[in-house]
Symmetry: C2
Subunit: 159 residues, 2 copies
DNA sequence: GATGAAAGGGAAAAGAG
DNA sequence: CTCTTTTCCCTTTCATC
């Protein structure tokens, strides 16, 4: 029922994860109160989740608009050649571009999905022409622009 | 040069944001040390960034694989009708589906972009048939599946 | 597994230069 | 902005059940 990268998590672990996904700075005391436990077992469970990398990172989520990155673009793209070397070369290229906050290698109609954060349409054009399209192996790009975020969460859905 | 939702951030603010985007649990003491400041101004700047919602949230990032959500899918979709009511109705529908971690209203070739986290392809099929496609206004869906994450960060790129 | 107590340290707030 | 102090609370560890 579970693959080898799955770690056994009981209902309490899942509750802890749920709460930490909403607020990384909740205290162990507050967690314990909400779970009807004392601090120590909560502390040990959290430490275990960190050690097993179920919890990967604690981060601050920043409002991109307020830092002057008001335009989010999504790019679906195809490459000319799909040899192992060419893929690795393209991925190394994309990994160096700071505007790219997501790059996924896909199965489906397109090869890669990119999420781009830039100031405005001028900056996007600069990104396309001077940063992305400098890769020779790129075949074509299909870009969309985010007008409104209906849902936007980093939380993994847990039953 | 900046729109009204932009907040004036100096170099120190940007440094604080950069560090908190990497680690939400860094202490003010550690921040102060890295910025060559004392704790008080760091404390006050962080509080200001929180109050002005430049920092929106502190969250724990969870390894989806390890919680049994090993399949990430991206759906681009089109609706039949684009009246204001129909759009709102579709958005309300999608907002209620837990598997959807992102839903963006787009300008471009497609109407909406969805990011989906599920256990496996069976769960995805169930999502499509029983949860997403129950909306009458849906025209068509183009799905892709993430094979590999090259870049995947929540950090907004800052110079 | 859990509890409870103790030591050390950070958070928060206020006063002064 | 820096420095300092004070209070309070949390983290972490350890002995114990």
């Amino acid at each position: 029922m579970e693959n080898n990268s799955t770690i056994r998590l009981d209902a309490i672990d899942l509750q802890i994860i749920k709460l930490l996904q909403k607020n990384a700075r909740i205290t162990n005391k507050e967690l314990a109160a909400q779970l009807d436990l004392t601090i120590t077992p909560v502390y040990e469970r959290v430490k275990r989740l960190e050690k097993t990398a179920v919890i990967g990172q604690y981060v601050a989520l920043i409002d991109a608009d307020k830092t002057g990155k008001g335009l989010m673009a999504l790019c679906m793209l195809r490459l000319e050649k799909h040899t192992k070397d060419k893929l690795a070369q393209f991925e190394a290229h994309v990994a160096k571009i700071p505007e790219v906050t997501e790059c996924y290698h896909l199965a489906g109609q397109y090869d890669y999905h990119l999420k781009i954060l830039v100031k405005d349409m001028n900056a996007f054009q600069d990104f396309i022409v001077n940063k992305l399209s400098t890769n020779e192996n790129l075949a074509n790009i299909q870009s969309s622009f985010v007008m409104k975020k209906i849902t936007d969460t980093t939380a993994v859905p847990l039953e």
